[in-house]
């Protein structure tokens, strides 16, 4: 009849000797399983983190613009109350998603924010009359093109008369 093996390890050795391909295929299969499992975890996780970070980026840009707009309006109102000739310089870090900045009717400071859902206008209202250099003004609209590019900007907020606050980039 068949051979009798003394120990378990001896039997295992004999099988491995007789069927060397069997062990090789098992390790290949295990390798493939590990790779497949790794991919199955990494791919959806990467996608979810990517979309989450994209949304967070939008929220960060929105929060930055809110902070910038509020600081300009606060500085303008402070300069107005300090009196004619007073100046306040702000250092603002402009995010890259701003397409245009304008002042309308001397009371609305508007930031055009580009987002995946379209261009939104973020508006800040001032209780004091805002203006900028005459060359950038046309009728009731004054543009602030220097604020529409990203990076660190120095903004001078100056009470040029008893009625108006001038906003300029230095």
């Amino acid at each position: 009849m068949g051979e009798s093996y003394k120990t378990k390890s001896e039997k295992h050795k004999m099988i491995s000797k007789d069927f060397p391909g069997n062990r090789k295929s098992q390790s290949s299969f295990e390798y493939l399983l590990v790779v497949a499992l790794t991919f199955a975890i990494i791919v959806p996780t990467s996608y979810i983190f990517y979309s989450y970070s994209k949304d967070s980026g939008q929220e960060i840009a929105d929060a930055q613009i809110t902070k910038i707009g509020t600081s300009i309006i606060d500085a303008a109102e402070s300069a107005f109350h300090f009196g004619h000739g007073s100046k306040i310089t702000l250092e603002l870090n402009i995010p890259k998603d701003i397409a245009a900045v304008a002042i309308i009717d001397g009371r609305e400071l508007i930031f055009n924010l580009t987002s995946p859902s379209g261009i939104s206008e973020i508006v800040f209202f001032s209780t004091v009359n805002l203006t900028t250099e005459g060359s950038n003004c046309d009728a009731n609209e004054c543009k602030l093109p220097e604020l529409a590019s990203s990076g660190l900007k120095k903004v001078k907020v100056e009470a040029i008369s008893r009625e108006s606050i001038n906003i300029s980039i230095i």
């Binding site: 809110t66 309308i104 379209g118 939104s120």
Partner: protein, 159 residues
């Protein structure tokens, strides 16, 4: 030589079959939406902070999209138009919006905006949709009353 080429051909044939099987399996999984990872994303309503979105619902009974927004502008405004769309083909179409524009909106107050009789754009029960909402308004106290646009996004499951 003949035996060698036969072995090569058999090897290539086996791999071609394996490749074909894998491609068909991946195609079937894709067809049944296994790779549609958007369903694992959290539901979200994103508007600029000046019109904070506090709640939303997408329902098929009745077919309507509800969104609750807060006027954080610090100004009283008049909403001149409301619109809803998405990137599907055909896009979602809602026949009416409530409150119907133009309407007045006091600052620091909430409004429930309801788009009713919605159809198309994948607006069906248990489906995940991404909707773009656009709101146009002007500030009542600004003399020239320039119209501003705000765009927001809702990503959620229709129930």
């Amino acid at each position: 030589m003949y035996k060698k080429s036969q072995a090569s051909l058999e090897f290539l044939t086996t791999y071609a079959w394996a490749f074909l099987m894998i491609a068909v399996s991946i195609g079937a999984l894709y067809y049944f939406g296994v790779f549609d990872f958007t369903k694992y994303q959290p539901q979200k309503c994103a508007f600029p902070s000046q019109f904070k979105c506090t709640d939303f619902s997408l329902s098929t009974a009745p077919n309507e999209v509800k969104v609750k927004l807060v006027n954080n502008l610090g100004e009283e405004i008049e909403v001149t138009s409301l619109s809803i769309t998405n990137d599907a083909n055909p896009p979602i179409l809602c026949l009416s919006a409530s409150p119907e524009p133009p309407f007045n909106w006091e600052y620091s107050t909430e409004k429930d905006i309801v788009f009713s009789a919605c159809s198309g754009g994948g607006f069906i029960s248990d489906n995940r949709v991404e909707l773009k909402i656009s709101l146009r308004y002007y500030a009542i106290n600004t003399p020239s009353r320039p119209i501003h646009t705000i765009n927001g996004k809702i990503n959620g499951r229709v129930i």
